[in-house]
């Protein structure tokens, strides 16, 4: 299953090559594109010709990178110090196993035994000063034969079915978006379609800035895995999205106010095809749409997201129906775009 392979692939910001190669190989083998470009900063831009030679130029985007840890020092005792790349709550790191570097060297992030702690220590989160990765070596020399400063470390989580019609795995933000786009690419539409698998979203929407400029689209949709905060003790308005209630449409976040007409057209498509949708509550976070919107003279954009619990952590959880409905919503929107007069 492609979503499983995408979830288990490791690719932090600036080091997306494993994910990129996986997507490229899949597109080539299944003959899903008419042109594949890899640009100077690593975006993979895929063009699929339309059945008609003209029409609006539509861009879809999902980012390939995931949050990760970067090795910042190899200590004399062989332990590795690290820093987060992208937004990670440091409190979730302790007691996890990780893969370090391109060769996926196994390591663990441990903590001082509870027996040796003062009671007040247990109420203080461990910071970067106390945390390190242990590869099971005893010296700097041994460690440096295996890893180097600048290598990334990733969670070792495996993808699997979960609970009632759900999946669990790592990096659903935004491999689920990549997987949705791969499904969308399986069909041909009336107009030329550009699908961008972007880099470095997690550290400031870097890839989409460039991809937007290259494609220069007439309109763009960004497909994301967004936070579902439908968990105990979080009030309804704080929940952002709920699992199982369909793809989420963004009305506003820190990076973008999506084009209102585009959003209402997507809502119409959902309504006509009986696809459940939800409006994302709250305005936290940002997406590639923020940068694509500002390309050249401006681009109308919208963001459609698959709700995922516990994102930016070792294990996220998402609903299968939400995933399939996101694919359906995007496909149906694209198929009916012409009859809607290209929206704009």
């Amino acid at each position: 299953m492609l979503l499983k392979r995408l979830s288990e692939a490791c690719g932090g910001p600036g080091k997306e090559s494993v994910v990129r190669d996986l997507i490229k190989q899949e597109i080539t083998e299944q003959n899903l594109a008419d042109e594949i470009i890899c640009d100077a900063i690593g975006n993979l831009i895929v063009k699929k010709d339309g059945t008609k030679s003209d029409g609006p130029k539509v861009m879809l985007a999902a980012h390939m990178d995931e949050v990760a840890l970067m090795i910042s020092n190899v200590e004399k005792n062989g332990l590795l110090k690290f820093k987060p790349v992208g937004g990670i709550d440091l409190r979730i790191l302790v007691g996890k196993s990780v893969y370090v570097g391109a060769n996926k060297v196994s390591g663990v992030i441990g903590a001082k035994p509870i027996h040796m702690q003062r009671p007040e220590e247990r109420n203080t989160p461990l910071g970067l000063n106390e945390l390190y990765i242990d590869l099971g070596v005893r010296s700097q020399e041994e460690a440096e034969r295996l890893v180097k400063v600048g290598d990334y470390a990733y969670f070792t989580t495996s993808f699997s079915e979960f609970g009632d019609n759900l999946y669990k795995g790592k990096a659903f933000d935004d491999r689920v978006g990549c997987a949705v786009l791969m499904e969308v690419l399986k069909e041909r539409y009336e107009f030329p379609l550009y699908v961008a698998f972007t880099v470095q979203e997690e550290i400031g929407l870097r890839g989409s800035t460039v991809a937007g400029y290259t494609v220069e689209p007439d309109l763009a949709l960004v497909i994301e895995g967004t936070a579902a905060n439908d968990i105990p003790d979080s009030k309804e308005h704080q929940q952002s999205t709920n699992l199982g209630k369909g793809p989420a449409l963004t009305m506003m976040d820190r990076s973008v106010i999506p084009n209102p007409r585009l959003v209402s057209e997507i809502l119409k498509v959902a309504d006509e095809h009986k696809i459940p949708v939800q409006i994302r509550r709250g305005t936290q976070g940002g997406t590639d749409a923020g940068k694509i919107q500002g390309t050249k003279g401006g681009v109308p954009v919208a963001v459609i997201s698959v709700p995922c619990r516990y994102i930016h952590g070792p294990v996220s959880v998402m609903n299968k129906n939400d995933y399939n409905n996101t694919i359906e919503l995007v496909k149906n929107f694209l198929k009916t775009l012409e009859q809607r007069g290209g929206v704009l």
Binding site: L79, G87, I88, D89, L90, R91, I92, V94, G95, K96, S97, S106, G107, V108, G110, A111, K112, P113, I114, H115, M116, Q117, R122, N123, T124, P125, E130, Y132, D134, L135, G136, V137, R138, E142, L146, T156, T157, F162, G163, D164, L166, K168, A227, N229, D230, I231, P232, D233, S234, S240, L243, G282, Q284, R309, Y310, I311, H312, G313, V315, V317
Partner: protein, 352 residues
């Protein structure tokens, strides 16, 4: 039999204090060196390897390593299907967030201890640890009704952590404390199978150590050994722990001194290690409450006891890490110690 591989299997198996039965079964099926295997009423698993002496004069050596692990227990199922829990044994609340778990209900159900995404955390929240009563487990069912088909209050929960090989002979997993001790006993019995020994060796996989040394109390009473040796894990050297409070990793076991250790046993164990060039670290434990040694020592009219500690890092976290070379060394040291025992030495233990 590959005992290292079996240690990984043991570490991955559930066996929370009071619920060690399935694990005991697994261990008894994987010890070809025992002449006799039995369990007592509390669930301690006793692996007996007989000595060569006449039945009436055979001394009894008891080895004790606890097979129970710390874990979690269901306390409430919320309306929306989330599970609240408490701990069985001592967990640092900070290591639980975002862990994968297995809820042992009517069937085993995978779960996740949920953590808010960083996007919706306030600066204030990041500075505080999440306390266990505020945590919850998500098993992917969205109502009390669906969850309670499979899960009840009181059901146990273990951390899901595949055993992972690190560099060299290092391995990491959720329950090295004290399955490492069980592996040491197996290594010892395997080594003894190649040697002659006068004593009957009772290798006891004890229960309920983590909640108060309860299994060692009853099993020692039943066996009445001449010597009791506990094998437990000790604090491996790591940043944040002073050198004087830890045992060097990859340097053999810690041989403990303290009030719970019989001085002559200690002296003899150190001599055996030196004679056979087995590395070890001295470990001073003035307050000896934390291992089965403590329970064995005061059984019946008193038992000469001692403690070997295998250093592990990150004790009571889901990534307990051990150098398997230390397990082999500890098992070998124990076997050599047992093989060299004679009646004269055992007599001498009764007076200081």
């Amino acid at each position: 039999m590959d005992i290292k591989k079996f240690l990984c299997e043991m570490s991955e198996s559930p066996g929370i204090s009071g619920y060690e039965h399935d694990l005991a079964q697994k261990i008894s099926e994987n010890c070809p060196w025992a002449d006799e295997t039995r369990s007592d009423k509390l669930g301690n698993l006793i692996l007996l390897k007989r000595g060569k002496d006449d039945q009436n004069s055979r001394p009894k050596i008891m080895l004790a390593a606890h097979m129970d692990e710390i874990g979690l227990m269901v306390t409430k199922i919320e309306k929306e299907g989330f599970i609240r829990f408490s701990t069985v044994g001592g967990f640092d609340q900070r290591v639980l967030l975002a862990q994968e778990v297995v809820v042992h209900g009517k069937k085993d159900l995978p779960g996740v201890i949920g953590a808010k995404p960083p996007h919706s955390l306030t600066a204030e929240e990041r500075r505080r640890t999440v306390s266990i009563e505020d945590m919850f487990i998500d098993i992917g069912f969205d109502s009390f009704e669906k969850v309670s088909q499979y899960v009840n209050v009181g059901d146990l929960i273990t951390i899901k952590r595949d055993c992972l090989s690190l560099q060299g002979n290092y391995i990491t997993g959720k329950a090295m404390d004290d399955r490492v001790g069980v592996a040491v006993m197996l290594e010892c019995l395997k080594e003894l199978a190649k040697r002659e020994h006068i004593a009957d060796v009772y290798a006891v996989c004890t229960v309920q150590e983590e909640v108060g040394l309860r299994g060692a109390t009853t099993s020692t009473y039943g066996i009445v050994p001449d010597i009791g040796i506990a094998i437990d894990v000790g604090f491996g050297d790591m940043p944040g722990i002073p050198e004087y409070d830890s045992i060097k990793m990859s340097n053999g076991p810690g041989i403990t001194v303290g009030p719970q250790v019989h001085p002559k046993l200690h002296e003899r164990m150190v001599k055996t290690a030196r004679d056979w060039n087995i590395p070890f670290s001295p470990e001073a434990t003035p307050s000896p409450g934390g291992t089965d040694t403590y329970a064995m020592q005061v059984t019946r009219s008193g038992i000469p006891t001692m403690l070997l500690s295998v250093p592990i890092r990150y004790m009571h976290t889901p990534v307990e890490t051990v150098d398997y070379t230390d397990v082999i060394r500890t098992g070998r040291l124990l076997a050599l110690f047992i093989a060299e025992l004679d009646h004269e030495f055992l007599e001498g233990l009764k007076c200081f």
